[in-house]
């Protein structure tokens, strides 16, 4: 019986096993984490390698350009428009305290091109495209359509992954460029029609102040974010578990992981460009 055992020994035994349990749990999570990082890296490397190897499925690639680029225009446009507008309004109320209202055009242009354009567009596209990629490929995996591709001598990486990753990476900079313009236009509307700035001065100030690196860094960010969103969608869908629950989890993981990676890489890229 346990009552017979010395209390101190029992407690130490208990605490030792608790510590061991904790170590095991932490160890398992760490191993799982590195395991999935490894699998994701392998998946991404394979996807990139297949981009440069024929055959290419041009019809699929074209379809993805339309899906990811064209159909995201409205979402990205609305997001950046209102962000640009609110940016002008907020910086006006803030800068008025220092009599620095004149800097609104600079703030809007700089924040839009460097940060808000790529990040907001990236996050919106992660929600729109990342989710739909994961759900589509996940459903294809679950219903054995991915296996069916292989049995029909078509490599699923080439048919499913390459078109999405390629289109996402190439079209995101275009989307963000459009977003930048709309966002700056949003700031312009508020500044001119609500805050009674001179339209000419606002445009001139924006134009003179912006450096090419501001825009280019944002567009490079956009390409990276496009890659992240599509590769996370493809990876999670491709490795989806069976059943509706599996596809649901894959979709959630695709969006969450892409969003977090976008924010992390945004910091890293900013560090690279401006330090």
């Amino acid at each position: 019986m346990s009552e017979i055992a010395p209390t101190a020994a029992r407690i130490s035994q208990k605490s030792v096993s608790a510590v061991l349990d904790l170590c095991a749990t932490v160890g398992h999570s760490v191993m799982r984490f590195f395991g999935s990082v490894g699998r994701l890296t392998e998946f991404a490397a394979k996807a990139i390698a297949h981009i440069f190897m024929p055959p290419w499925f041009f019809k699929q690639i074209g379809r993805q350009f339309v899906d990811i680029g064209y159909y995201s225009l409205a979402v990205v446009g609305l997001t950046t428009l209102f962000s640009g507008m609110v940016l002008a309004l907020q910086s006006y109320t803030g800068f008025a305290r220092f009599n620095a209202e004149g800097a609104i055009a600079n703030v809007v242009a700089l924040s839009m091109t460097r940060e808000l354009g790529p990040v907001l567009a990236g996050l919106m596209v992660a929600g729109r495209i990342g989710a739909s990629i994961a759900a589509e490929i996940g459903t294809m995996r679950v219903t054995e359509q991915v296996d069916a591709l292989t049995t029909l001598s078509v490599n699923p990486y080439k048919y499913l992954v390459v078109p999405r990753v390629l289109a996402g990476t190439l079209i995101m900079p275009v989307l963000v460029l459009v977003g930048d313009i709309i966002g700056i236009f949003g700031g312009f509307i508020v500044a001119v029609f609500r805050l009674k700035f001179s339209a000419y001065a606002y445009v001139e100030q924006t134009w003179n102040f912006l450096e090419p690196i501001d825009v280019i860094s944002g567009l490079i960010k956009a390409a990276v974010f496009g890659f992240i969103v599509t590769i996370m969608g493809c990876y999670n869908g491709y490795n989806s578990d069976r059943g509706a629950q599996g596809v649901g989890a894959a979709t959630t993981n695709a969006v969450v992981s892409a969003s977090i990676l976008i924010l992390i890489f945004n910091y890293l890229l900013t560090q690279v460009f401006f330090s």
Partner: protein, 259 residues
Amino acid sequence: MTDTSVPKIELRDVRKSFGSKHVLRGVDLKVPKGSSLVIIGGSGTGKSVTIKCVLGLLAADSGQILIDGVDITKLGSRKRDEQMKKFGMLFQGGALFDSLPIWENVSFGLIHGHDMPRDQARLAAIEKLKAVGLGANVADLFPAELSGGMQKRVSLARAIAVNPEIIFFDEPTTGLDPIMADVINELIVQCVKDLGATALTITHDMASVRKIADYVAMIYEGKIIWSGPVAELDHSGNPYVDQFIHGRADGPISRATAA
């Protein structure tokens, strides 16, 4: 008809585990050229994994898988793709591409694997649809617009479209009513005979076995425990086979493992 020297498909001591779960524990199997072998066995005994290993959808942990005497587990990816062109597969759920119309589903392997022009592929698809008893009017429909039995037929048409040397059937009659199941069985027999193909089927539908099999192999706990011509199925003298083909709840196969 059968060339006994080199079997079309041969598995030698094929093993496959998922983590600590040993699904295949040394599968040995020979399918003579031009014959139809059916693997029977309960759910979760390794039937699907066996067929996926032969198809290359899963990599076997060890053992050899020989197609025409060539071990495909040791081939590079390009040669493996060449081997894949010999294969056709009918999936359990049909696995039709739901974003493509029926005719593109059927001719998918022809267009992408064999570089056939699209207009020609469409005609070929309609021809194959006819072979499985479907009219040209379904060619432009989408998979979701067809009934389960029709989807199975389209899937069969897709499997035979590339004139494969080996066709795999994964539970071809599951989810169909008995009459439609018999129709599909007859189509399978007909298509395999017309193509002169070798067929490897997994099923637990005994009516299907008796209709389409030349040879039967029974898999249990990851091993082939009996194989022989279909005529000997009823006199196998194997208590596991007897229990399975008569569908008895009690016998050497415990319910815990069969479930």
